[in-house]
């Protein structure tokens, strides 16, 4: 058992876990793209992809092969450095974000060992910071490609992000105050009996809406806006460069669903689930917490994907209004409630 803890704390072993996660996130991203198409098909009474593999599961493999055999075109008017670097920045943002997000946990002898690449005291701040970098990537792509549609999309993107970053961070801070920690693992552990969705429902709504906006999911797709701006900031991108940026967005959706389930839905905890009860059966301790977390993340992700077909798109001025005039006051209200609650319960 001592050996296990030693290996578990070894930074090189953690790096290996991180690399496995990098592989896994590609798999999850592919599942997300497939589910998006299937759900869209179901909701619109279509079949969706069904030719490649059983139920079309291999559709994305076929797409990837196609992207690999497309010519790499950089427009002559584009700023080459920015144009090439933009998808890399977006991909890097997602990869660095996933370094601090636990993908599951193992319970051995009443002790919870989260499966995470980098354990740090400030992981919540770190995740938010890394997640915001993708915004810079989008602006680089748009400014670099020197296209009018791209630039309009990027300006809208900044206006939207400017509005949603503040409510998002305030609701994150509310969680941190209630848990008295910025460590995402501590936050999950402290939600053992009661999830934070119960204790701060307003905070959950604000966080959910704001992180949907950060992922760029509909109804917050003003940056791409296929109906008005051709393809928004990706207009000039084609082939694999488009593929990288597009895939980074889907991986962002997956990580966002993980974040929502970790911060507000109790992570790997289920009510009445006592780690001690599982010690008798170590196999359960290995499987159950991880399966619970993955299940929650999957439910959140399906909900986010279905949102797209249930809600009409917003105009950009409506989006800006929603962030500043509704979500920001709500997030401050939630913060005051959390302060009052913590003062009443704590100290």
């Amino acid at each position: 058992m001592v050996d296990f803890v030693e290996i578990y704390n070894n930074p090189w072993f953690r790096s290996l876990i991180g690399l496995v996660f990098v592989g896994l996130i590609f798999l999850f991203g592919m599942i997300a793209v497939w589910m998006e198409r299937k759900i869209a098909g179901d909701i619109q009474h279509r079949i969706g992809p069904n030719r490649v593999g059983k139920f079309g599961v291999l559709q994305l493999v076929a797409d990837a092969i196609k992207l690999f055999t497309k010519e790499d075109i950089i427009p002559i008017k584009a700023d080459r450095v920015l144009f090439v670097a933009a998808p890399m920045v977006m991909l890097g943002s997602v990869f660095l974000m996933l370094a601090a997000i636990p993908f599951g946990a193992v319970v051995i002898n009443d002790t919870v060992y989260p499966i995470v690449a980098a354990e740090m005291d400030i992981s919540l701040l770190y995740i938010q910071a890394m997640s915001s970098i993708s915004l810079v990537g989008i602006f680089m792509a748009a400014y670099g490609s020197n296209n009018k549609y791209s630039l309009i999309g990027a300006f809208r993107n900044f206006a939207r992000m400017v509005g949603y970053e503040v409510p998002l961070i305030i609701s994150v801070i509310s969680v941190a105050i209630m848990a008295n920690s910025l460590d995402i693992i501590e936050i999950v552990k402290i939600q053992d009996p009661i999830w934070y969705i119960v204790l701060q429902p307003i905070g959950f709504i604000v966080f959910f809406v704001a992180s949907m906006s950060e992922m760029g999911r509909l109804p917050f797709d003003q940056t791409e806006a296929e109906e008005e701006l051709v393809a928004g900031w990706v207009t000039e991108y084609s082939g694999m460069r488009f593929g990288l940026g597009f895939f980074a967005e889907y991986m962002h959706v997956v990580l966002g669903s993980f974040l929502i389930s970790l911060l507000f839905l109790g992570g790997w905890n289920i009510p009445g689930f006592i780690p001690g009860a599982l010690t008798a059966n170590p196999v359960l301790g290995f499987i159950v917490p991880t399966a619970v977390l993955l299940g929650k993340a999957a439910v959140v992700m399906i909900f986010i994907l279905m949102f797209r077909w249930a809600v009409p798109r917003f105009r950009i001025d409506q989006v800006v209004d929603l962030s500043w005039k509704k979500l920001f006051p709500l997030s401050v209200l939630n913060l005051v409630w959390v302060i009052a609650f913590t003062l009443y319960m704590g100290v």
């Binding site: 704390n9 790096s15 660095l96 690449a117 740090m120 008295n180 209004d321």
Partner: protein, 124 residues
């Protein structure tokens, strides 16, 4: 001290992977993909018509005012991060909480002012 550095070793390795991977991908693309000649394919896309002028134009000034108002709020929010972890179990917590509540109140006055000035609107 070693513990802090240890937890960032995985981050560094993932960063290296994130930098290398797009290069490898683009290398594979360059090997596999066909080449075709043609001048117009490097043109900027503008719904089929010939592209006119530059895309990098001067944007309206209200946009920057709006961005400045964001910077104020965002810096203010950053102050809350260190405060959030000393909330329970420290002697200074009560004093800090009062200070921060005053700070938030002042911030809200600024917010109301911005709202009344219509500084938070996309178009006036």
């Amino acid at each position: 001290m070693a513990g802090i550095i240890d937890s960032y070793i995985p981050v560094a390795i993932i960063l290296v992977v994130a930098i290398i991977m797009p290069f490898i991908t683009m290398f594979i693309v360059n090997v596999l993909s066909p080449r075709s000649s043609g001048e117009t394919k490097f043109d900027t896309y503008e719904s089929g018509s010939d592209p006119t002028g530059e895309a990098r134009i001067q944007f309206k000034v209200e946009y920057y005012l709006y961005a400045i108002s964001f910077v104020i709020f965002d810096v203010a929010v950053l102050f809350m991060f260190p405060w959030s972890v000393v909330f329970v179990g420290y002697d200074i917590a009560a004093l800090l909480t009062i200070e921060l509540l005053i700070f938030i109140t002042v911030l809200l006055f600024g917010f109301v002012y911005l709202w009344k000035k219509e500084g938070l609107q996309w178009e006036k």
